[in-house]
């Protein structure tokens, strides 16, 4: 096994900190914590296997593990649900994986302040099952809703499918406790109060530690926003006979000003073509269906009803055809499926092959979506022409703004990859393609990632280009907070911070 052996006695020290039942070095424990669902060089699996896994149960244990890592110069990689679509939880240099799944308790429910305080290992679905008893919901709704964890959502600065109504992770996490790369335990929020939503006191450190992909510490507790559980849900799917009309209607619906509107999604022609292969909602659609728009709204029943009628009138007036309640409601309810169902793509001759789903995301300004779409598909097509292991599964664009769904969009091109066929040549081509996708996003005034993060091979090369002088500040912060470069080293090219020092 190609892991780097820990120094003599380190496992004993970890055991003394976390207890004998919470330290693992066995094959299944370490192999299963080498990857995440993002494209992964499976032909070099052994390069990413951690040396040990710990499952701490308190912030103090996490702190002691991090201090130990500093003493011995051992990398530490935080891991929550491991559902990320960049590689924040993938060990680049082996080391100790700190898996926070056992820190999954509801610590306090505060009705007066409308907050819930939880351990970072709790999952939103399970949290909401408890909150339902009190009439609340924590409305952070990623595609990974059934399996991602609060700590990972903070680590990636996650994006929510209903963020246009309720905000995204950065808006819904009020404050959190974090173990810094040197082991100190601090709390960050908007100012100092754990339950304060708005403060002008000092630097806004919550955002610094939101989306750091495990490079600046390990979250050990979070205080979250609660909202009333919605009385009503409304979802509609409209079809169009061409992409540009659907794109125009998407922008109009997003700017409608309907307060209960949670999001608008635009599926392009390639996405509809892909869905016609094996999605029961799309197989029977006539050939004239070339693009689809979905909208969803939540809130008090009377308010949702009024807003829904406005959305329906607008969609009809734009030339859209309502696809029926069964599709509208069923497809919306299946929005988390991609984490639960096996995927199958097609080889160039049409044969079914087991492929995994890889959605390459970016934040793209609305006017740029048509041009970006064409360039992204050209990149995907080029991959498929050269390697019969990639499959273009189409593109969607989803309103990206928090509380007011207009402006830029979460754009994704979904690419199926037959990962069993990876070799060095195809992996290198994929990394080049990923860099090309990111370059298009930047050239069109966007950001490399809206929700996944941008530290994967290929895309990460352009992070300094996207951030400009801000990337120099990132390096200064990293070096200052993590002087020994033990916290998830290698991510975001941050080794440069130490090479230049």
């Amino acid at each position: 096994m190609a892991t780097i052996a820990l120094l003599d006695g380190v496992v004993d020290e970890l055991t003394a900190i976390c207890g004998p039942d919470h330290v693992f070095t066995g094959r299944s424990a370490v192999f299963n914590r080498a990857r995440v669902p993002a494209p992964f060089p499976a032909h070099h699996w052994e390069d990413h296997i951690p040396s040990a896994v710990v499952l701490p149960t308190s912030a103090e244990q996490v702190s002691e593990v991090v201090k130990l890592a500093n003493r011995h110069g051992i990398p530490v990689v935080p891991r929550a649900g491991a559902t990320g679509l960049t590689d924040g939880a993938v060990p680049l240099r082996h080391g100790i994986v700190v898996d926070i799944k056992l820190m999954n308790e509801i610590l306090e429910l505060d009705h007066e302040n409308r907050t819930v305080t939880v351990g970072p290992g709790i999952n939103m679905l399970k949290l909401n099952e408890e909150l339902r008893k009190h009439g609340y919901i924590y409305p952070d709704d990623p595609a990974s809703y059934p399996c991602s964890l609060v700590g990972g959502r903070i680590g990636t600065s996650g994006w929510s499918l209903i963020g246009g109504r309720y905000g995204h992770t950065r808006d819904l996490v009020i404050s959190f406790e974090i173990v810094l790369p040197t082991g100190e335990i601090i709390r960050v929020g908007d100012g100092g109060g754990a339950k304060v939503r708005k403060s002008s006191s000092g630097y806004q450190l919550k955002h610094l530690f939101m989306g750091h992909q495990g490079t600046l510490g390990i979250v050990t507790e979070a205080t979250l926003e609660l909202v009333n559980r919605p009385e009503a849900e409304f979802s509609i799917f409209f079809s169009y006979d061409n992409y540009m009309d659907a794109w125009q209607a998407t922008g109009d619906l997003a700017r409608s000003g309907v307060a209960t509107l949670a999001g608008v999604v635009l599926f392009d022609e390639e996405k509809v073509r892909y869905l016609r292969r094996d999605d029961e909602a799309y197989i029977p659609q006539p050939d004239s269906v070339k693009a689809v728009i979905a909208c969803a709204a939540y809130g008090n029943a009377d308010e949702v009803r009024v807003g829904a009628k406005r959305l329906l009138r607008m969609a009809k007036a734009s030339g859209g055809a309502y696809m029926g309640d069964e599709i509208a409601q069923g497809d919306w309810a299946s929005r988390h499926d991609r984490y639960a169902t096996p995927q199958h793509g097609r080889t160039r001759d049409g044969q079914v092959a087991l492929m995994s789903w890889h959605c390459e995301d970016a934040s793209i300004p609305y006017p740029e979506l048509p041009a970006v779409r064409e360039k992204w598909h050209a990149i995907a097509d080029s991959l498929r022409e050269r390697f019969d292991m990639f499959d273009d599964w189409g593109m969607f664009a989803y309103t990206n703004g928090a509380f007011k769904p207009w402006g830029d969009y979460l754009a994704e091109v979904d690419i199926g990859i037959w990962e069993m066929n990876w070799d060095d040549q195809s992996w290198a081509a994929w990394v080049d393609a990923k860099r090309d996708l990111a370059r298009v996003s930047i050239e069109h005034g966007g950001s490399i990632s809206a929700c996944h993060g941008s530290c994967r091979a290929g895309e990460v090369d352009l992070v300094p280009t996207e951030l400009g002088g801000g990337y120099e500040v990132m390096k200064t912060i990293k070096r200052s907070l993590d002087p020994n470069n033990v916290m998830n080293p290698g991510k975001y090219l941050l080794d440069q911070a130490y090479e230049e020092a």
Binding site: F234, E280, A301, A308, L312, D325, A333, V352, L354
Partner: protein, 86 residues
């Protein structure tokens, strides 16, 4: 008596729906078996397994709706109201 007669649970012959999809039961679609001959092979499953998968699917979707909201509004009903208001 336990078990079932396989012949009674054998799915009916498929009819073609599109160039890549066939169907054996109403509203239940299946990838054309001809596309599953090289890298992935189709399995034979009895009728009750078809039905179980479909019923579980609907159960899951209903659960997901109920998980997020008390009720779901019907676009078809609201469109009818809009038409009536014109």
């Amino acid at each position: 008596m336990f078990g079932f007669r396989l012949s009674a649970e054998r799915p009916p012959e498929a009819h073609r729906v599109t160039d890549v999809v066939v169907s054996r039961f109403e509203h239940i679609y299946e990838i054309d078996p001809a596309l599953m001959t090289e890298h992935v092979h189709q399995q034979n499953i009895p009728n009750w397994e078809f039905n179980r998968i479909v019923e579980n699917r609907w159960e899951h979707l209903a659960w997901m709706h109920a998980h997020f909201a008390d009720t779901k509004l019907s676009g078809e009903e609201l469109l009818a109201e809009i038409e009536a208001e014109r």
